[in-house]
């Protein structure tokens, strides 16, 4: 311990320098990961189901945007060969004002027909953080997304007012870093009531008795599954051909559209990652190389005492790896502290800016070690090229 402390003190500034570089790398990487999760989450969802809506315009929004989708049409969809499960849904904007529309932070109400299992292959159930998910037969209860819960200050057991009605929040979803984080999920019967309450034209239409609509006809869309041996795109095209009056989203086409519409974010992600690698990497490489060059006199002395290039290289590499590992871990801790602190502040408005995935942390540490080793090797090769006398002279 007595001999270790001064040695650590000697490396303190090097460790701090590396920590700053790695912290920058990890923080920028975590922002990038956050965006990637958002894009991937949406992609994963749309590839897990065929989304069907009524043809034309309507109240529906999100992936069920379109006209009314009556019960008879849903039955027709269910009868198309290859279809395995049709879940009626109502998706509405929570707050149908223009300022809320068309934004990435729009909060949505999703009504689900709980008598049918979720046909989405990637989301058979949604992950619950606290409380429980909805059950068939529930009324006036809601499960909310993590961002919604944070920004509205609700948790399982809280009360929530939706269109003048009192709801009990029975569960909160785990943070998924994608759309459901801002969802309020309710039984479809409750969502239908909210739809009628929100839409004066629909109320007028129903009150006039001019159209023969029952409650089960009030759907903005449906999630459709496919049998195991079926190609989802082929099933979607079959529905489009065989069922008139529907908008069918082809999963792969929708995925492509989603990716092209998020191309800016993908580019931003790559930019952030590249920036992180360059800034963090340069800082780290410079710090490690400088630390080796600073000790040039010591290396000259060691070579005078008989150290061969290999012995010196091994020694420098071992120390560089130790210092880089310490700096890397310290940098990760700094980035985690900063990121979690900022996210705690941002969560008040339902946002999360960073996502510290295991692959990011392991990657950053591995990258740091590799770069540290490469910089130390480069600096050592430069140092051993000097004669011991020259190294001692240059080290002053």
């Amino acid at each position: 311990m007595v001999t270790l402390l001064p040695r650590l003190r000697g490396y303190l500034f090097t460790v701090i320098g590396i920590a700053v570089g790695v912290a920058g790398l990890v923080a920028l990487g975590a922002m990038s990961e956050r965006i990637v999760r958002f894009i991937e989450g949406g992609d994963r969802f749309v590839l897990g189901q065929i989304s069907v809506a009524g043809r034309g315009m309507g109240m529906g929004t999100g992936f069920t945007a379109g006209g009314l989708l009556p019960a008879a049409t849903l039955r027709a969809v269910a009868g198309v060969p290859g279809v395995d499960g049709v879940q009626a849904q109502v998706m509405l904007p929570l707050n149908p004002t223009t300022s809320q529309f068309m934004t990435l932070t729009q909060e949505l109400v999703l009504g689900m027909d709980l008598s049918v299992p979720s046909p989405n292959r990637h989301y058979r159930t949604l992950p619950i953080r606290s409380g429980r998910f909805l059950r068939d037969g529930d009324r006036r209860v809601a499960v909310v997304g993590a961002s919604f819960a944070a920004s509205h200050g609700v948790d399982a057991g809280s009360r929530l007012a939706l269109e003048g009605q009192d709801y009990e929040v029975v569960g909160v979803l785990e943070r998924m870093l994608t759309a459901p984080d801002r969802f309020v999920i309710v039984p479809i019967a409750d969502a239908r009531e909210q739809w009628v309450a929100k839409d004066p034209m629909l109320r007028t239409l129903l009150a006039s008795g001019g159209v023969a609509l029952t409650a089960s006809d009030l759907n903005t869309g449906a999630a459709v599954g496919w049998r195991n041996d079926e190609d989802p795109d082929a099933v979607a095209l079959r529905i489009r051909e065989r069922v008139p009056g529907v908008n069918v989203q082809i999963p792969s086409e929708l995925s492509r559209l989603l990716r092209s519409s998020t191309a800016f974010f993908a580019a931003l992600t790559m930019g952030i990652s590249a920036l992180g690698l360059v800034i963090g990497g340069l800082s780290l490489a410079n710090t490690v190389a400088a630390a080796v060059f600073e000790r040039i006199r010591d290396f000259g002395v060691k070579r005078a005492l008989g150290a061969t290039d290999l012995q010196l290289g091994r020694e420098v590499l071992g120390e560089a790896l130790g210092v880089t590992l310490s700096g890397g871990i310290a940098g990760i801790v700094i980035a985690l502290g900063l990121g979690l602190g900022i996210d705690a502040w941002a969560s008040r408005s339902g946002q999360q800016l960073f996502f510290f995935s295991a692959r990011l942390l392991a990657g950053a540490l591995g990258f740091s070690l590799l770069l540290g080793a490469a910089s130390a090797t480069y600096a050592t090769l430069r140092v051993v090229r000097l004669s011991p006398a020259e190294a001692i002279r240059r080290g002053g």
Binding site: L305, G306, S387, A389
Partner: protein
């Protein structure tokens, strides 16, 4: 024991090359205490560095026990220095991050000395030079004289047959200077070969041979 022939060394200067050694011939036998004198800048340290393989000459050959050591590979030169040469520098050149004991032990690290035995030997050497209580101290906690004693212990740790000392008393007061000189002479009397470069006349007293380096050439006094 140690022989040099036709050693030539020229440094690059800002405008023109600076010749330092212009064909130096030199030899010293086991058990001899030899002094190379000369004014500052005459090339004494350069010659010592070439003799100890700390620096390559532009021409000439150094033999150690009839082996042309200047022709060795870089790694073999390192091994040669570790086994056969002990250096004492004017600026001590102790590693600041190591204790006195660890600085002495450092000399054993690159020649494969056994650690436990090395610690015993390093402690005994420090004890012998009155530094027994200072083994756990860092160089910054030691006086110049104490640092040079530690450096001397490091130089003789591997019991090398050749000691090369560059102005070993240059930064020391008279008492500490005398102590280091006495130790160097004792080393020669015990059969070792000691070459000291200095510009101080008191170091020359009692030397087996004294050379003067002038205009790049060595002349015996």
């Amino acid at each position: 024991m140690l022989r040099a022939e036709g050693i030539v060394k020229t440094y690059r200067g800002p405008s023109a090359p600076i010749p330092v050694l212009a064909g130096v011939d030199f030899s010293v036998e086991a058990g001899e205490f030899t002094v190379i004198a000369g004014p500052s800048g005459s090339g004494k340290s350069t010659l010592l560095n070439v003799l100890g393989l700390l620096e390559d000459a532009d021409g000439g050959t150094v033999w150690f026990r009839d082996v042309a050591v200047t022709a060795l590979s870089r790694s073999d030169k390192g091994r040669h220095r570790g086994r056969f040469v002990g250096f004492v520098f004017q600026a001590f050149l102790l590693l600041p991050s190591l204790t006195a004991l660890d600085n002495v032990l450092l000399a054993g690290r690159y020649v494969g000395a056994a650690r436990a035995e090395g610690r015993r030997r390093a402690s005994a050497l420090l004890e012998q030079f009155g530094m027994g209580e200072r083994g756990a101290h860092y160089p910054r906690e030691l006086s110049g004289g104490e640092q040079q004693r530690v450096a001397f212990c490091r130089a003789i740790f591997n019991d090398p047959p050749l000691i090369l000392a560059d102005e070993p008393t240059g930064n020391l007061d008279d008492d500490n200077g005398a102590l280091i000189l006495k130790a160097l002479r004792a080393r020669a009397q015990a059969g070792g070969t000691v070459v000291v470069v200095t510009h101080r006349t008191d170091v020359m007293a009692g030397a087996d041979a004294v050379y003067a380096l002038e205009n790049g050439r060595l002349r015996r006094w």
